[in-house]
């Protein structure tokens, strides 16, 4: 407990959190941009989808690097296992859903 706590206090006092603020504004900008592309422009559906999925992936990386300290951990093996499991679950839900609902389309 005390070891972890002191580590956290050190980080808190490491100056103004520019990285997080920039990350926040980029995320907000990307979200507004996605909304504008979907609602404001009248592009064909598949073009809209391609662009906003691209923006979503970009935003996921912003989250990982700006907020979630993906480069910082002391035990990278945890993060690698976590990311692999995340990809597995994401694949299961997306591919599974498409396969299950394919007959309704």
């Amino acid at each position: 407990m005390s070891e972890n706590q002191s580590q956290m206090t050190k980080q808190e006092h490491a100056g103004f959190p520019w990285k997080q603020v920039i990350g926040l504004f980029i995320s907000l900008a990307l979200t507004v941009l996605a909304l504008w592309i979907a609602v404001g422009l009248s592009l064909p559906v598949h073009v809209t989808l391609t662009i906003i999925v691209g923006l979503a992936i970009f935003q996921a990386f912003i989250q990982l690097f700006m907020f979630m300290h993906v480069t910082e951990g002391t035990e990278p093996v945890h993060q690698i296992i976590g990311i692999i499991f995340g990809i597995y679950v994401a694949f299961a839900v997306v591919a599974g859903t498409l396969w299950i609902l394919a007959y309704t389309i």
Partner: protein
């Protein structure tokens, strides 16, 4: 003016049923009673300072368990009402609408507001102690998780008397749960109450994942952790990856109902089946969220009372990891009959059968742990031993249901209902009762009475079989779930009568357990040693109840069953000389979680009634609390050496 107030009240409060008026009166009386007792004994300050603002994992655990027991009582009353209605053909104790509401609230409450919080409570109490930590990784977040669960549960329960209960089943399938077929506020209560408590569950998952990975005592490698801690680690991973799917599904349906979108209605190109798909993508892993931790509890209890180290530790761990991976690819077996193509059904049929293999492996591990052990039949051990055969029946019938072609026969019959009650009662409920009796001395410093405990066990366990064994046959005879009454002459009546007798027996068993808790609070045997059962893991090293800081010295671990090893070393006279105490760093209590959750309740209530003038200010209050929290710099304190010495001396541990 008066007329408009009258019509508002008639719509706002649920009216027309004498039982509801009885509930209104009892809720009012209990509330007045609680306020009166607290005021009379001047306990408001105590309540605020010791409980509502606490960040201590042990107290949060106790609050989780109290809330879960209250919800178990409510869910149990729902069950008894359903059994009363179905005892004889053509009963009119409940009407169809009321029956629908009762089975919906029964299911939702039992899974989301009993099973999960009870397990979270036991996790909170035992995990930091088992890994030799002084608290969880994020104590503030832990308090916030509890309060979000609590207000979510209260909001859901309010539907009973204000506005009307949801009636689309605990799975809340579209299109019936949508705005068009289900106007009114009932489904909104479901969506928003469950959503709020789901935020708490997700945060708990993250909290325990980090706690177990980062805060283990020196020397405790992952493969030296107690089995309960392992099961919680894996459960936390499942929580973190499964809950987002449910959060999204609930949010989409909320948008459908409140703002007229069409994610789950065919009208504008939506898909009702997508709801079932997303719901069960969370719903199946959820089954393992409420089962894996109780597997952990049984592993601890069986090893302790067989006086042997757990058989096949590594195999146990790897089978849980296999379950966690497979649990994400079996969800379709809940809707084999929705018209999927044959390859889809075949794939999910096989994956479901596969997941039974690691579960079966665990059953054999427990049996081999018992083999040649010195078995001591305490109350927790009885619950654990009863779990093995009863749960296995649930597991075997699960494999029967997993065969897609056969499932067309069993689907939505009482055979299915009997199956999931065999797993959830014989697994989860036996497990939480087992854990409750096992860790009770660690929570409160005295034991629950063994004699009363054994009586409640035998009555509950036998009644469970009286209630649910005949149910399999009733299902095969053709009775389907969720029917509110049935005609005479189908041959269903005798079985229904027997089942109701069993349900009443389970109620008696639970009441006896409640009586045991009250009786033992006054006359229970004190636990002065901190180790009443001859435990094998670190939670029994410290005093009962554990002091605020858990351990005066963080224990050092070199093997599995760390406490057993310590006791053996002590017998050999190898005890280490005691080190001097150091001040202990602990988090401060804070009122922000309970205040933030209260704002969430206001916001939730506003959105349920689509009163945005109430919902939006509630959310602003939540955000204001977050901002207030981020400016709290003085969030910790030190416990002085003198105070540690006083506390340790009071429990006779200062040598």
């Amino acid at each position: 003016m008066i007329d408009s107030i009258k019509s508002f009240m008639g719509w706002f409060f649920v009216t027309g049923d004498p039982m509801i008026y009885g509930a209104d009166a009892s809720i009012a009386l209990v509330s007045i009673g609680i306020v009166a007792v607290l005021t009379y004994f001047k306990k408001w300050k105590w309540l605020w300072e010791e409980w509502l603002t606490t960040v201590d994992h042990k107290r949060i655990g106790i609050m989780y368990i109290i809330a879960a027991l209250l919800m178990l009582f409510r869910g149990g009353i729902d069950a008894l009402m359903m059994r009363a209605q179905l005892t004889l053909p053509n009963m009119h104790f409940l009407d169809a609408e009321h029956y629908n509401q009762v089975f919906t609230t029964h299911g939702t409450i039992m899974i989301i507001f009993v099973a999960m919080p009870f397990i979270f409570g036991l996790m909170n109490i035992a995990v930091p102690l088992q890994i030799g930590a002084r608290d969880v990784a994020y104590p503030f977040l832990n308090a916030l998780s509890f309060w979000f669960f609590f207000v979510g549960a209260m909001l859901f329960n309010l539907s009973f008397v204000i506005g009307g209960s949801p009636d689309a089943g605990w799975s809340s399938y579209a299109p019936y749960a949508g705005a068009e077929l289900n106007p009114g506020v009932g489904q909104n209560y479901y969506l928003i109450g469950v959503q709020i408590s789901g935020i708490g569950s997700l945060a708990t998952g993250i909290n325990f994942l980090v706690t177990i990975l980062k805060m283990r005592a020196p020397g405790m490698t992952l493969f030296k952790m107690p089995m309960f801690t392992w099961s919680v680690l894996i459960t936390s991973v499942i929580v973190v990856f499964a809950f987002p799917a449910f959060t999204v599904a609930l949010a989409l349906m909320t948008i459908d109902r409140l703002f007229g979108a069409h994610f789950f209605t065919i009208a504008a190109g939506g898909s009702p089946m997508l709801w079932a798909n997303l719901f069960w993508f969370w719903g199946h892993p959820e089954v393992y969220i409420v089962l894996l931790p109780v597997f952990g509890i049984f592993s601890e209890v069986i090893a302790t009372f067989a006086h042997k180290t757990l058989f096949g530790y590594a195999v146990m761990v790897w089978s849980m990891i296999a379950i966690s991976v497979l649990s994400f690819i079996t969800w379709l077996h809940h809707f084999f009959t929705m018209g999927n193509t044959a390859p889809v059904n075949a794939f999910f049929s096989i994956s479901t059968m596969l997941i039974a293999i690691p579960t079966g492996v665990k059953i054999f591990n427990w049996l081999f742990t018992l083999n040649k052990g010195r078995i001591q039949f305490t109350t927790p051990m009885l619950w654990a031993l009863a779990f093995i055969p009863n749960f296995t029946i649930g597991g075997v019938t699960g494999v029967m249901l997993a065969m897609a072609p056969a499932d067309y026969q069993y689907h939505n019959s009482y055979f299915l209902v009997a199956h999931f009650h065999s797993t959830l009662i014989a697994g989860t409920v036996f497990g939480i009762f087992c854990g409750l009796h096992y860790w009770w001395p660690k929570m409160f410093g005295y034991l629950l009475d063994e004699r009363k405990g054994k009586w409640s066990f035998w009555i509950f366990m036998i009644s469970f079989n009286v209630c649910f064994m005949p149910m399999y046959f009733l299902g095969l005879m053709g009775m389907t779930r969720r029917m509110y009454t049935y005609p005479a002459g189908l041959g269903w009546t005798p079985i229904n009568v027997v089942m109701t007798i069993g349900a009443v027996g389970m109620g008696v068993g639970f009441a006896l357990m409640a009586w045991n808790i009250i009786w033992s609070a006054f006359y229970g045997k004190k636990d002065t040693t901190g180790d009443p059962w001859g435990g094998r893991t670190l939670e029994w090293v410290t005093a009962s109840p554990a002091p605020e800081y858990n351990f005066a010295h963080i224990p050092e671990v070199s093997t599995r069953d760390a406490f057993t090893a310590m006791k053996e070393e002590k017998e050999k006279g190898l005890a280490k000389s005691s080190k001097p105490y150091e001040p202990i760093h602990m988090p401060n209590n804070t009122g922000i979680p309970v205040i933030m959750a209260s704002f969430m309740f206001v916001a939730g209530f506003g959105f349920v009634f689509e009163w945005y003038w109430m919902g939006i200010p509630g959310l602003i209050g939540v955000i204001a609390c977050m901002i207030a929290r981020s400016f709290v710099y003085n969030d910790h304190h030190y416990i002085s050496i003198d105070e540690i010495k006083r506390t340790e001396a009071a429990t006779g541990r200062l040598s």
